[in-house]
């Protein structure tokens, strides 16, 4: 049909070599090394559309959530009461350790980077990113509300908070904007010295990120990577414990943060994996979630749990280049061993006309 485009026919061979790319159906079923170079168009091999614009919308939602949360903190900072920390069953019964917060944040960075790696190596990364960003956006919005409505005093009397403006009237918008920029540049971590505005206790963003990191790694990495899952679990648990012994948050903040993150994750993913729950009706109470329509828009073309396939996130031309390199190397290696092997793989590569190079000798062998 397409004049000048090579038609490649690949018959399955003994050692399963498909040459790395022409036949989309065969190739992408392979995990592991060869699968990493498989082509990954907007319609993936499992017929799951990636719809990158929805991921973009999700990113915008997350960004707006982050701005909402930092604005809320900038304003809440002014209202932090100047009283002793509240009685807390964990904070009052463990020895205060100042470096705990730094350790917790380092663990957060490790957990987040690992989760990012897992997602970027996943074939359906755009869909997963869309989900994670949407959930994070929701959680940041919830946080913006909860820390603003009732303000708890500092849990750690030794933590340095920026002095308040002591303005009885509302904060000028410029001051808020400046604070928002400082907070965003710090990404919510205290380790870089940017988190100098206090009052963001209920609920704990650290716990939320640690929990999310574990959930992402558990769900989207290969099922048999037990070591990774357990390490991620312990990272998250130790991260929360370190946070508490450093008096970074009250216990109730961590509890609520854990509860809200896991519940939202469970509900969203169960909805996304089930056809019947994507429709309204008396059988489905989860359609009362305020974000249900957004969920429907994002997930209506996704049929069930995402298959665990992995690939390197390179642009297509680059992947094609590497694939060609690999194919050339492989076929030359095979030619070298042709005499030594009894059976030869059946690889029929038929190219028609056009575009110089790429003319392969047809190799057929009856076995």
């Amino acid at each position: 049909k397409d004049r000048g485009a090579p038609i490649k026919i690949n018959l399955p061979s003994e050692d399963g070599d498909g040459g790395g790319g022409g036949n989309r159906n065969n190739n992408n079923r392979r995990g592991g090394f060869r699968g990493l170079f498989s082509s990954n168009r907007c319609v993936g091999s499992d017929n799951i559309p990636h719809e990158p614009w929805k991921t973009l919308l999700s990113a915008i939602f997350l960004a707006s959530g982050f701005v909402a949360t930092t604005t809320s903190l900038a304003i809440t900072h002014e209202h932090v009461p100047d009283i002793d920390p509240l009685p807390d069953v964990i904070l009052d019964n463990v020895t205060y350790t100042e470096w705990g917060l730094d350790v917790s944040e380092i663990l957060i960075m490790i957990s987040t980077l690992t989760a990012v790696l897992v997602v970027m190596l996943h074939s359906h990364r755009l869909i997963i990113l869309r989900r994670i960003w949407f959930l994070l956006g929701c959680l940041y919005y919830y946080r913006a509300v909860t820390m603003f409505i009732t303000v708890l005093p500092k849990a750690d009397p030794k933590y340095t908070c920026h002095p308040k403006l002591d303005n009885t009237t509302a904060l000028p918008a410029l001051v808020i904007a400046k604070r928002v920029l400082i907070l965003i540049s710090g990404m919510g971590l205290s380790i870089n010295g940017k988190h100098i505005y206090c009052g963001d206790y209920i609920f704990s963003g650290h716990t939320m990120v640690l929990t999310m990191g574990y959930l992402v790694i558990k769900e989207y990495s290969p099922r048999r990577f037990f070591l990774l899952h357990w390490m991620s679990f312990f990272t998250s648990v130790i991260g929360v414990i370190m946070l508490l012994i450093a008096r970074g948050h009250y216990s109730i903040d961590c509890l609520i943060g854990y509860y809200i993150t896991t519940r939202l994750w469970y509900i969203y993913h169960t909805l996304a994996h089930s056809d019947s729950l994507k429709s309204r009706g008396r059988h489905n109470f989860l359609d009362k979630m305020w974000w249900w329509l957004i969920f429907r828009y994002f997930e209506k073309n996704i049929p069930g749990p995402l298959p665990r396939r992995y690939s390197i996130p390179l642009p297509r031309p680059l992947k094609r280049f590497f694939r060609r390199l690999y194919r050339n190397w492989w076929s030359s290696r095979r030619r070298r061993h042709q005499d030594q092997q009894q059976q030869q793989p059946t690889t029929v590569v038929v190219t028609t006309g056009g575009g110089g190079g790429g003319q392969h000798a047809a190799e057929c062998h009856q076995s």
Partner: protein, 289 residues
């Protein structure tokens, strides 16, 4: 399946007891600070009658919810569900207000003086009895132990009653649903202006109650959500086995909205026979059975 009803009742009672013990202990740890800054409490005028009004609303809604359950044909299924959820919500509450104790939201509220020694078992039991006799309401003067802020039991009960009425009463009673919703919101407003709770308590209570209700009912209505698997995260809830056991013999679809008098079947048939015979004699119409 009365055994299951009994078990769920035990679960609720256990949850209630745990909450009571937790409150008796939390009272001792309540700090003597000024109320925390709160967006609603600081910007609305304090009304002393607010808490009482919200409790009257709560009583009305609870009675309505009980009436709906009593007249529902599948009352035992509904009771089991409600008890399981109540027990669960009480447990969560017991943990939440114990771990971090907030100061009194209403400086004018009378709280019993704190003991200056570690509480003994006998004193703990005495307090529990006092709290239970009040049922968690302040209007009877028994709620003198403070500190149970996060999260609000009043909000939880009000919204639970609203959800029960909305789900299990006839669908055409939409005006009732509207009235109940308005009452619920009014109850929350009264609670806040009476400084019974902080705003965060109310929000968290609404979130937990609504999420639990919706998750439970979606699972009860969908067969595929009773099976473990990659498609189903909801089995990760710690109470999933309870739900699985209670809903084992209930068909996995919404309960049909059918109503009848809560009397034994034999009595019901006799009554309806009597009524039919009386009616047919009056009309002069012989009913051939």
């Amino acid at each position: 399946e009365l055994l299951k009803v009994f078990l769920s009742l035990l679960f609720t009672i256990f949850g209630f007891l745990v909450t009571t013990v937790s409150l008796a202990l939390t009272h001792e740890r309540m700090p003597d600070y000024d109320p925390l800054p709160d967006i609603v409490l600081d910007n609305t005028p304090y009304q002393k009658w607010g808490l009482d009004a919200s409790e009257y609303v709560l009583i009305v809604l609870t009675l309505l919810a009980i009436a709906v359950i009593v007249f529902h044909k599948h009352r035992f299924v509904v009771i089991r569900r409600v008890f399981l959820m109540l027990g669960l919500l009480y447990f969560y509450r017991a943990i939440c207000f114990y771990v971090t104790v907030l100061p009194k939201a209403d400086p004018a509220y009378y709280c019993s003086p704190q003991l200056n020694h570690t509480i003994t078992f006998v004193e703990l039991m005495q307090r529990c009895v006092k709290i239970i006799s009040g049922g968690g309401l302040s209007i009877n003067g028994q709620q003198v132990y403070c500190g149970d802020f996060i999260y609000s039991g009043h909000t939880m009960s009000i919204f639970l009653a609203f959800f029960i009425i909305r789900e299990y009463s006839p669908r055409k009673f939409w005006y009732l649903h509207g009235v109940v919703l308005a009452l619920a919101i009014l109850g929350i407003i009264f609670l806040l202006i009476g400084r019974g709770h902080y705003t965060i308590d109310v929000i968290v209570a609404y979130f937990i109650t609504s999420n639990t209700w919706w998750t439970y009912h979606t699972m009860a209505h969908t067969q595929v959500l009773h099976e473990h698997g990659e498609h189903n995260y909801l089995t990760n809830h710690w109470w999933f086995m309870g739900l699985y056991y209670f809903e084992a013999n209930v068909p996995k679809r919404p309960l049909p909205r059918e109503y009848n008098l809560p009397i034994p079947d034999s009595l019901a048939t006799k009554v309806s026979e009597l009524v039919n015979r009386r009616g047919s004699q009056r009309d002069g119409y012989q009913e051939i059975v």
